[in-house]
């Protein structure tokens, strides 16, 4: 289907059409000084006129002085918690005199009413290109080998409205990772519609690209006009300007080999003097998937079961064995995180685990910067090679 154009009222009509189809619409909205994803019903809830300033260890909202609805970069949360909630019931059982019984599936489902995911299906509004790539990676990780059924169900039911980044943050490097700033079909997870916001004075409008039948149907419900050559050119301009304003850069060439060879680099000890092992980076990372399994018991001790919760390789007990932790030092945990993300992931899943969203840099309380540390490793390797 040819690209179409809608205005701000059209975005509201799009939200309405998705709500009418039974979706819970999740979109960006301003809450306590940050842009976060939340269920929305109105365009008025979008961060109109807000941008952000992001640097290592720093995030601030900034008034843009215009009417942009999507004039900001990645927020603290990606789409990850929507499809992959922080906590999920694996199963419930009952204690019996000789052991336990497992509750039937339907009984287990009843208990999921207050679970994240109970208000699915979701329509995600305003998914950035880096986050689309991240959803694609999580699809591979969580459904490629051994399918996580709950994740797969939420994903299959979801409607995705992507958006082109117009104003990348100081920690963005999606151009380096080849994941942005403009959504493209075949790059990352599939999406239904992609918006590019055109902020021309007196002509605030959105180019809408349609990439699925479902997307075409929904767009058919609302009024839109066909895109002109000028619209297409303006949208290209938005993406080109964004691509030229990346805050960070990551040289990805030979990165896997570089990290594998750097296992004993002094860099890890150096990072360890700054890293608090707080696990912020893995929590905000849109691709980190590690989980722990916890036993839960109700007060009577008769109903019990197992929940899956987000975990992090920075957690001290992540690698616990009887007799000690495999990764006792902070340096070894940072090495695991960075090596997994940028190197081992490629062997495991045929793709890097980093999408260049910059969240781990922005939300690190110690301002540790993965692109900087990668550059240091590269310099160190080059120096070693230069030695006689």
């Amino acid at each position: 289907m040819e690209p179409r154009v809608i205005d701000t009222a059209g975005v509201q009509a799009l939200v309405d059409a998705l709500l009418a189809r039974g979706y819970t619409v999740v979109g960006p909205t301003v809450r306590s000084g940050a842009i976060v994803n939340a269920p929305i019903t109105s365009v008025e809830q979008l961060p109109r006129g807000w941008g952000d300033d992001q640097e290592a260890g720093r995030y601030r909202l900034r008034g843009r002085g215009d009417d942009a609805l999507f004039g900001f970069a990645s927020g603290a949360q990606s789409a990850k918690p929507v499809f992959f909630p922080t906590e999920e019931v694996l199963w419930r059982g009952r204690r019996t005199p000789d052991g336990f019984t497992v509750e039937a599936e339907d009984l287990q489902d009843d208990r999921r009413d207050d679970q994240p995911g109970a208000d699915a299906p979701y329509a995600l509004l305003g998914v950035r290109s880096c986050d689309l790539a991240a959803i694609g990676i999580q699809d591979t990780v969580l459904t490629g080998r051994r399918p996580d059924a709950a994740y797969a169900a939420r994903r299959a039911a979801a409607f995705v409205v992507a958006v082109t980044c117009s104003d990348p943050g100081g920690t963005c490097f999606c151009v380096s990772t080849g994941t942005g700033p403009r959504p493209g079909p075949g790059r990352g997870a599939p999406y239904d519609l992609a918006l590019t916001e055109l902020l021309e004075p007196g002509a605030h409008r959105f180019l809408v690209e349609v990439t699925s039948d479902r997307g075409a149907e929904v767009l058919g419900d609302i009024g839109s006009t066909s895109a002109t050559a000028a619209d297409l050119e303006a949208a290209d301009g938005v993406a080109d300007r964004a691509a030229r304003r990346m805050g960070r850069e990551l040289e990805t060439d030979g990165l896997k080999e570089l990290l594998y060879a750097a296992a004993e680099s002094p860099v890890w000890d150096d990072v360890a003097t700054r890293c608090l092992a707080c696990a912020n980076c893995t929590a905000v990372c849109p691709t980190c998937f590690c989980t722990d399994v916890e036993d839960v018991t109700d007060l009577t001790g008769s109903l019990a079961g197992r929940n899956r919760v987000w975990d992090s390789c920075f957690d001290a007990d992540f690698s616990l064995l009887h007799g000690g932790r495999v990764r006792a030092s902070t340096g070894s945990r940072y090495r695991q995180w960075m090596t997994h993300k940028l190197a081992a992931w490629i062997d495991q899943f045929g793709m890097s685990g980093c999408v260049g969203c910059g969240r781990c840099i922005t939300w690190c309380p110690a301002a540790i910067d993965i692109t900087h540390e990668a550059a240091v490793l590269r310099r160190e390797a080059a120096e070693q090679e230069a030695l006689p």
Partner: protein, 270 residues
């Protein structure tokens, strides 16, 4: 991620902290497995941990687990009395594929509880003994009281022409056997390295030195296999805990060839 229910049929003490349980499924058929695979074994309300299957792969009913009580979950499992229902997921992971050693020598090197995951493979070899040339079981334990499967060790030596060598770290009172580390047994055993498949299971340091001792005897790196131990929460490659650089030990392992492991286990805290 939902466990099957298995009932404990019998529980036999092996040593003061280790017991062997026989389990049968409450519903459904037995758990077919390859020697070297493990299950995630659940004590309801306490927790779930990886435990290797130590029974006979040609007779998977009952499901046999040998469990050393070292912490809350293993204590609850090892202490489960007959009639108790435990949860079982699996079997998971790669096996020893001991059949690759047919026509040549097979050397099993075990440290402590590491004999349990090797036992199914030793049985497999004994059941087709004529297919193999020299077979050795080299086993090290902390003290004579910590030796597992005394009956099996005797039977393998007496009835199946297996060279069984045992050593302990600390001999006590009546011990007339060898005192020392298991790597010394590797140096001395009567196999021909050039045609040997070496299967090693025990604490990581012990496996590293045993692998080196096997290489010293001329065994090829890709013919030495170790069973790796990492924290495991899911067993199916989803939770991330068991990662060893590019490997998910629960899926790609626990049994991995030494040529793949060499660059990894020689680095601290990887």
């Amino acid at each position: 991620m939902v466990p099957r229910r298995f009932v404990v049929r019998s529980s036999r003490p092996d040593t003061r902290d280790t017991r062997t349980l026989e389990l049968s499924p409450v519903d459904g058929g037995p758990l077919a497995f390859d020697a070297g695979q493990f299950t995630m074994l659940l004590a309801f309300g306490v927790g779930e941990v990886p435990i290797s299957i130590s029974g006979d792969p040609t007779a998977p009913d009952p499901l046999v687990h040998t469990i050393r009580a070292v912490g809350p979950v293993s204590r609850a499992l090892a202490g489960a009395s007959p009639g108790t229902v435990l949860g079982v997921r699996g079997p998971f992971g790669t096996g020893w594929s001991v059949g690759d050693g047919r026509g040549g020598d097979v050397v099993f090197v075990a440290g402590g509880i590491g004999l349990a995951p090797l036992r199914p493979a030793i049985r497999e070899v004994c059941a087709a003994r004529a297919d193999y040339a020299h077979v050795a079981v080299l086993y090290g334990a902390r003290t004579p009281d910590d030796l597992l499967y005394a009956d099996d060790l005797q039977r393998w030596a007496g009835e199946h022409d297996v060279e069984v060598q045992v050593t302990v770290d600390h001999g006590q009172h009546a011990w007339r056997g060898r005192v020392g580390v298991v790597t010394e047994l590797v140096a001395r055993a009567r196999f021909d390295g050039a045609r040997t498949l070496g299967l090693v299971c025990g604490p990581e340091v012990m496996m590293r030195y045993s692998a080196l001792a096997l290489l010293d005897r001329g065994v090829r790196k890709d013919r030495v296999r170790l069973s790796m131990e990492r924290n495991m929460q899911c067993g199916v490659g989803l939770c991330g805990h068991c990662q060893l650089r590019e490997y998910f030990v629960c899926v790609d392992g626990p049994v991995l060839p030494y040529d793949a492991l060499e660059p990894l286990i020689s680095r601290a805290e990887l």
